[in-house]
Amino acid sequence: MELQFTDEERGFRAEVRDYLRTNIPDAIRAAVREERPLPREWMVEAQQILNRAGYAVPHWPVAWGGRDWSAVKRAILTEEIDRNAVPRPLAFNVALVGPVIAAFGSEEQKRRFLPAIANLDLWFCQGFSEPGAGSDLAALKTSAVREGDVYRVNGQKIWTTYAHKADWIFCLVRTDSSGRKQQGISFLLIDLATPGIEIRLIHTIDGYRHVNEVFFDNVAVPVDNLIGEEGRGWDYAKYLLGQERTSMGNVGFSRRRLEQVRVVASGTTGPCGRAIDSAAFRRRLTQAEIELKALEITQMRVVAADAKASHAPDPKTSILKIRGSELLQTAAELMLDALGPEALTGGFGMPDETDPHQGIDARSAPLSAYFSSRKFSIFGGSNEIQRNILAKAVLGLGARK
């Protein structure tokens, strides 16, 4: 047992922190800190700076830019990226489609896509969810029918984050509907510039514009864009969902938020004192900080166990998802409560993300962030699904008779 971080791990953390603070432009970090939506160029710039240092895809095969770092070190890396308000490497690229291409793609596909994905030269979004299939992913209906050298794709995806910024989308599509619903699903890469694709923004309650519906009307996709074998898309999706869990707990993100809460709550002096002077507020903040400390260690336990395990995801990862999302939500609530009535005129939503320099004060983000925080327990496998996993896979609680 080694219940503390080792000297090497501490050294790595310091090195990462130093690199991030030195190399990522302050304007970008300020925008992240203030919850402003970043323009595409800034996200690309940040990822390229990370990629230069090997920080974008350390978990990939070494041949494609990966580093042979321990899972604990990779977790430290993500924590520092989040904590220092650096935009994470685009998850759809580096954590999702990249590893699938590396594992199941052809050599040609790897050469074509992987370096571009790592460097965010190509921006991918994810086409999994459909209107009728949320957590029940396998119920998807978007079809791809082979016609010579192309698939004809028809259907609709929903909740597609950043589709409006992306170049490509990776999709689960149904190539066969004769068998069990998990069968007959294929994994397809689609260039969003292909005719027949329409992207519609979904307005969300946080006032941001980040998710979309994507409609496919007879879209022609070259069969070369099929990853792996036809009909095995479900396996690839499961592989993908089992990838890189060093950040499921969002520990660095919550820490940054809670630190901000402490700053805001300690700063709003006035005739009735600061929020931090309220014992009840302070207690809630303290409890959140303690819960976060526990989560940090739970995260490291899962990560360290993962490193030894086979590729099957550790079902205890669900603990990270549940507590991690709850903590982000708690942090957002605390921020709202720290501000009191002034939250209302602090502004809401970010209508103009084309102007990243648009000045907003410290009161701007909290209402949007509060509404936005609800998504953490819904997307990426809702907390209900996570509890099902814990009950069944970890505790062995019985199926219905």
Binding site: H203, E342, A343, L344, T345, F348, G349
Partner: protein, 364 residues
């Protein structure tokens, strides 16, 4: 005790509800026409005494209207012009207040009470904004924050420190030195930060002096807080109904998700939270005529519980809706936005519990 509506109350509730629902159906707001409807139906005159042209509706009637307002997610300002500013005007003196009240009652004018200040949180009793006596009248200087529905008002009612305490000043919104900076709240109201930069006012601008202003504002705030609670319960009620419909319809893994027991139990807990909140609305309303110290504590206790219920019901409703709950085209999210906005008004849970504790607990 008796919780049944009498015939008149049933009628009021039904007609108010129909009006708000019709407005909601109508889609694009025609604010002026809707406000005229409020006026025609007597909703504006409802809480005021007959002596000034009101309908003497009483607290229960206001509660019923606000419950319907919350259920329909109504949009026209009511809390501010009628229950806050209006009630303060009715308690004030002089020609300025009387004409503003008359204008409110005939639907032609609105005022807005400015309660909060920068870094003052929910305390309005000790304003940093001050009014200095001049030869001709007063000079008003200070800032107010998050003034509800100030942008449709022609008169701002501003509590300010004077020698001896807090007095209340009526300030035309277009007076030199007054600046409004207005934002939409997430639920579609407006909230304004207001700067009073040495605004010169005549003597008639002081519509309540340091002996009466505090009590008049406190009464209006407590009444509006109770009304706000009623609105929240109306909104929660409807949000639960929407949620139940959704989970009874939405299928996953081959059955409606409302058949999953874990979801059923959470919906049941939402119901419990709402009914407890409704009981506290009754309590607050029943205490509105108690002596001011007790009234304040009772209303604070009510909103503390209603706030907690609203946060629970709101977040659970969104969770049970999944992604759909986050889309602002879909009603659930809008009810959640409304509830969140109302939570921040008149005191958050922490502030309100503090009031109850300072008083040593609830009146028996």
């Amino acid at each position: 005790m008796n919780f049944d509506l009498d015939e008149e109350q049933e009628l009021l509730r039904a007609s108010a509800s129909r009006l708000f629902e019709d407005h909601a159906q109508a889609g694009q707001d025609d604010a002026a026409a809707q406000w005229r409807d409020y006026c025609d139906m007597g909703l504006i005159a409802l809480p005021f005494p007959a002596a000034v042209g009101g309908l003497d509706g009483g607290h229960e009637a206001v509660m019923l209207v606000m419950d319907a307002y919350g259920a329909a997610l109504a949009r026209q300002p009511y809390l501010q012009p009628v229950l806050l500013a209006g009630r303060v005007l009715a308690q004030s003196e002089g020609e300025l207040a009387a004409s503003a009240l008359a204008g409110l009652l005939d639907g032609s004018r609105r005022a807005a009470l400015c309660l909060y200040e920068p870094r003052g949180r929910y305390r309005w009793e000790l304003p940093q904004t001050s009014a200095l006596r001049t030869g001709e009248g007063w000079t008003l200087r200070g800032e107010k924050r998050a003034v509800l529905d100030a942008d449709g008002a022609d008169l701002l009612l501003c509590p300010a420190s004077v020698r001896g305490g807090v007095a209340l000043f009526a300030v035309p919104v277009d007076a030199p030195g007054v600046t409004l900076s207005t934002r939409r709240t997430p639920d579609g109201r407006s909230a304004s930060d207001v700067v009073f930069a040495d605004v010169a006012l005549g003597t008639e601008a002081m519509i309540a002096d340091h002996r009466s202003a505090g009590a008049a504002i406190a009464a209006a705030v407590d009444g509006a807080t109770a009304a706000c609670c009623a609105e929240m319960v109306g909104a929660m009620d409807r949000l639960l109904a929407i949620t139940v419909d959704y989970i009874n319809t939405r299928e996953q893994f081959g059955q409606p998700i409302g058949a999953f027991q874990a979801l059923q139990h959470r919906a049941a807990d939402m119901l419990v939270a709402i009914e407890q909140a409704r009981s506290m609305v009754y309590y607050a309303v029943a205490m509105l005529d108690a002596e001011p110290a007790q009234r304040k504590v009772a209303v604070a206790a009510a909103k503390a519980l209603v706030n907690r219920s609203a946060r629970f019901v709101g977040t659970e409703a969104i969770q049970l809706h999944g992604g759909m709950g986050l889309a602002s085209e879909y009603p659930a999210g809008r009810y959640f936005q409304r509830l969140t906005t109302l939570e921040t008004m008149f005191g958050d849970t922490d502030h309100l519990l503090g009031i109850v504790e300072t008083a040593g607990g609830l009146p028996d």
